[in-house]
Symmetry: C2
Subunit: 86 residues, 2 copies
Amino acid sequence: MSEQKKTRTTVDIYGQQYSIVGSDSTSYIRLVASIVDDKMREISDKNPNLDSSKLAVLTAVNVVYDYLKLKDELEALQQKIKNEEG
Amino acid sequence: MSEQKKTRTTVDIYGQQYSIVGSDSTSYIRLVASIVDDKMREISDKNPNLDSSKLAVLTAVNVVYDYLKLKDELEALQQKIKNEEG
């Protein structure tokens, strides 16, 4: 990891600025930030009384759901390939 | 969706209680909550000065990164299968 160039990108998520350091390109970091921003706004529209901290936690919950669904899909596909090869 | 039974589960994430409604089992909802809780604690350990709102946003950012990585992996595998079939 130490050989990879790290970039610092400032992004705006739900009206707050965040400085994100990583080896990804600025445009990739902006993409990730915009996905989080979109999701926060989507959840906020449905739950207008949530404070921003709870809103962010529920956004994280939401993304973990999506992550696990995708993980199941990937594992099922890997298993299918394994069965066909075996 | 309306035919699926909805359950309401109360979970604790980073010291706050959340009531989550969904068609998943209580144990699945608890699993999702525990992943978010773990990630928040992990990020908080590395950034002890973050307030809980920013911490939750950075947790969401983190999970979106993992999500996109997994999505790339899934799409690459789907493409590979398609190429082998074609």
